[in-house]
């Protein structure tokens, strides 16, 4: 069994030592390993467990659909539709830059987008939110989406997601009052009104979409999913269902709104109108021309299109002329002048004044429109025939009576030069010329001369530096009509659930009271009624044959610089139990009776359901 040249080693001490060394090394190594395991698993186990769980979870935002906006009868004005958004997930994109560009080129060809633009957009979005998917196209057509899904292998990192998009079925109708939605911007994120809104969410950016955004936006949900190391979806762990936004019911009457916009479209194409309930301030219609289609904003609006919407040469359709248009109002202001003069005791309803066709004040001649001379008349007739000289005299007298600010005081009380408080963003307050205002600007060398009597004279007939919009006029007229309550115009009626059941009423703040003597009020209304019904009334020809009794005031504002006159009409109906006020203006419509009054009749016809009504243009009025 033993070979000759083999030595059988005895377990020498030397070998025993060496074996012991090896054994010791093994022991120490096992010891270290066991301690390390103990540390990792027993002592730090919880921490690692949390990390392991974290590794494989992703939270995906589930978008909530916005609440719908309906008119007072429940007709949907703004709804949602499901769009297909094309997105790219950053960690699935090819890391090689050339490959990425090739991918964008393939994608761009089918989406009709330039590859560099896709790259730029993706880069910009990833800079803000590095881990979320970047949207390449918000609303892609179905055949495009199918192509993308079919060619998924050629398009690594490209995904298609269902998103909710706003749809405006009536396009340009009511565009200014419903507004549009857009991505939330940095500034809005800091605003407490937008608490709970995250980057990438869409919020209302104008109109009631913005005003009532916190009701409309709902609450995004989240889905907790388990993913593997490549980010592939494995299964859903938990879901927090999104809550649809609440529905907003407006006081708007779609039929009246449509009629108003149709009427405006028939004019010169630049104007505005307001239809309001004089008792409670509910706005039944509010429109501005030219209008725009908010559906444009549902996708990411192109800069070119946006520029077109704000271009003044094209009428700047985004401007809401009903609340932002600052215009001289022409003779429609005479209601305010009359109120001021009566209430301050400058005249009584029967005080006669002489209208010889013109008035000379300090070297300036103020003429009647058309140079007509009306002779001696009192307030009612002055309103009916719209005698300028009568009101020039009132302006002159107001300028010197007492502190000389009677006209300004009453104009201010009736809301001129201030915000009406309507529930729309970006309302403008206009300008109420006053000595203090003018003198201040003169001192700053903005204006060339200080206040003079002529300014008050101009103001009395709604000319000069006055800047007001149809909404302010509507509120002023409504105040006189309802006996002295300055109502706050309101679009939002109530918040409802998606079935139309009320959740919350949107109450307007209580109306300010201005005391108006009932006798004076009646005198003014008589004058206005005469203007629309009596012979010689500036709008009588316009309302011939109209079944509803109307009281109204024409206005023709001179704009100077060779521009066409602005046409105005403010109507109150039905007389004598006035329920509604309609204020219309057309920027280049000429005489009030020529353009604005027929438009008002059109609107009133829709308002009162008068079928087959044909409005006729009146001739020269004031």
């Amino acid at each position: 069994m033993y070979l000759d040249n083999e030595r059988r080693p005895a377990l020498t001490p030397k070998l025993a030592l060496r074996v012991a060394v090896i054994g010791a090394i093994a022991l120490v190594a096992f010891g270290v390993i066991f301690f390390r395991l103990w540390y990792l698993q027993v002592l730090s186990g919880d921490r690692y467990l949390a990390e392991a769980k974290d590794n494989q979870r992703r939270e995906i935002k589930v978008q909530a659909p916005r609440g719908e906006i309906v008119d007072r009868d429940g007709t949907p004005l703004v709804v949602n539709r499901v769009g297909l958004a094309v997105k790219v997930t950053p960690d699935k994109l090819p890391t090689d830059r050339a490959e990425r560009l090739a991918l964008y080129r393939r994608l761009g060809r089918v989406l009709r987008l330039r590859p560099r633009r896709i790259a730029r957009s993706v880069r910009k979005q990833l800079r803000v939110e590095p881990f979320a998917a970047a949207t390449v196209k918000q609303d892609a057509p179905e055949p495009v989406v199918f192509w993308i899904l079919e060619h998924g292998d050629d398009l690594p990192g490209v995904t298609v997601e269902r998103v909710f998009l706003r749809r405006y079925p009536y396009h340009t109708v009511g565009a200014h009052l419903v507004g549009n939605v857009g991505e939330v911007n940095q500034k809005q994120l800091g605003d407490p009104r937008y608490r709970g809104v995250a980057l990438g969410d869409r919020v209302g950016q104008s109109g009631v979409e913005q005003q009532y955004d916190r009701f409309l936006r709902g609450r995004n949900g989240a889905s907790l999913v388990q993913v593997d190391a490549l980010g592939n979806f494995k299964r859903e762990l938990a879901v927090d269902r999104p809550q649809q936004g609440e529905q907003l019911r407006l006081s708007v009457d779609l039929g009246v709104q449509k009629a108003g916009q149709a009427a405006l479209a028939g004019g010169t194409g630049r104007g505005a109108f307001v239809v309001m309930n004089v008792q409670n301030g509910e706005v039944l219609a509010l429109g501005s021309q030219p209008s725009f289609d908010p559906n444009l904003f549902s996708k990411v609006i192109r800069e070119r299109d946006y520029k077109r919407l704000t271009n003044p040469d094209l009428g700047a359709p985004l401007t809401n002329r009903a609340t932002q248009g600052g215009y001289p109002t022409g003779s429609t202001f005479k209601l305010i002048t009359a109120t001021a003069a009566l209430q301050s005791g400058i005249i009584t309803p029967d005080t006669p004044l002489f209208d010889g066709g013109s008035l000379q004040v300090g070297g300036v001649t103020f003429k009647n429109a058309g140079g007509a001379a009306h002779g001696t008349l009192a307030l009612r007739t002055a309103l009916t025939v719209s005698s300028d000289v009568f009101f020039y005299r009132l302006g002159l007298m107001a300028n010197s009576a007492g502190d000389g600010l009677a006209l300004q005081r009453w104009a201010h009380r009736l809301g001129i030069g201030g915000l009406t408080g309507i529930d729309l963003p970006a309302e403008q307050s206009g300008t109420l010329p006053s000595p203090r205002w003018r003198n201040r600007l003169f001192k700053k060398k903005v204006l060339d001369r200080p206040w003079s009597a002529g300014d008050n004279i101009n103001l009395a007939v709604g000319q000069g530096d006055l800047r007001a919009d149809p909404l302010q006029m509507a509120v002023a007229y409504a105040t006189v009509a309802n006996g002295g309550r300055v109502v706050t115009p309101r679009l939002g009626l109530r918040i409802e659930d998606s079935a139309g059941r009320a959740i919350q009423d949107l109450d307007a703040p209580p109306a300010r009271r201005v005391g108006i003597n009932p006798g004076f009020r009646q005198a003014i209304l008589d004058g206005l009624r005469g203007a629309a019904s009596l012979p010689g009334g500036t709008s009588t020809p316009v309302f011939e044959g109209f079944p509803i009794p109307v009281a109204g005031k024409t206005g023709t504002a001179e704009k100077g610089l060779g521009r066409a006159d602005q046409s105005w009409y403010v109507a109150l109906a039905p007389y004598p139990d006035i329920k509604y006020v309609v204020a219309v203006t057309d920027e280049a419509g000429g005489f009030g009776a020529e353009t604005a009054a027929p438009m008002a009749r059109q609107i009133l016809a829709a308002l009162f359901g008068v079928k087959g009504d044909k409005a006729r243009a009146g001739g020269p009025s004031d």
């Binding site: 074996v19 190594a29 390993i33 690692y48 467990l49």
Partner: protein
Amino acid sequence: MQASPLAPSVTGFSEPRRHLLRIDPLLLLAALGLIACGIYVVYTATRDDIPGSPNYYLYRQLAYAGMGIVLMLLLTRVDYSRIREWKAGVYGLMIGLILLVYAIGYSARGSKRSIELGFFNLQSSEVGKVLLILALSAFMVDRMRRLGDRETTSRIMLLALVPAILVVGQPDLGSGMVYLAIALTVLFVAGTKWTHFAALGALAVAAVVVVLVAAPAGGVQVLKPYQADRLTAFLHPTDNPKHQGYQINQSLTAIGAGGKTGRGDDATQTKLNFLPEHHTDFVFSVVGEEFGFAGAAIILSLFALLIWRSLRILTMSKNLYGTLVAGGITAMLMFQVFVNVGMTLGIMPITGIPLPLVSYGGSSVITTFLAIGLLQSIHAQAREVAAAKGRDLAL
């Protein structure tokens, strides 16, 4: 002394197949225990890897284990000493197989490490470990008279260095390091002077410095960058969460998350693609996550048993060759276990060394069973001799 004149037939009692009775039962227990646990761990780790084929890896590992066990049992009956005569051939075979990989090797993940044999990829660097042990021990026995010479030590080291460098070029850094560990242990067990080891140690430090610091600074890349990174990543894993440090972090998270008794089916960290190589290099992370501290302790205890028995066989070997072979095998097992487990725990560099009998892989399983078979052979031979001596004395 010649063989005992008292042949078994003379004594009058039959001794059926003596060598089978003289195996080390604890060693067998440790080996079978480990392969059984290993197969189960590979199964749970990989059952979701290939959709539709949950048993793909299971069946294969079972087949490898089967082959390995058969080979082990066969080796047990053989007298290992005979291999000593073939030392040159064994060494040549080893070099040949390694070179063959360069010629016709199959590339997986950019490395040519194995030769395709139909259903089975032979990793020659794995088999080479056993071949090297057999050859090197033989060469060492021949030079025992000149043990104290520096020349002996350097010759042995050189003999190991050649295949080591060849496999490192495949690249298989881990196997190269195992070859060196084998050589050092064979020298150590043979009784080489401590001073030689001191010198070798200094040389090793110098080599590390050159390879990792000086040469790159001078523009010479000895190791591929990723290899160098892998070696040093364990020192600062959080620096590089996406790359080299990633594996370590994932492994630590997985093991730590296992807690005291493991996450069982919830052990998703090691599945779901978070930890690559979860059935091969990082299989211990699976053990840690799924079976917790308890499971890991069991596996480690089985390894401890294995190494203990291996050392014991080393001390009882009938001849020097057996002692050295057992020493080499002990080195191979210890090095692989400590480096692999240490790697998953973040205290050792990443080197691509498999965990014996647990990591998935035919070559490693079979090589380990060959080694254990050799150990059993050494044990059986030693018992045989002792029994014979006993019988001799009894007479």
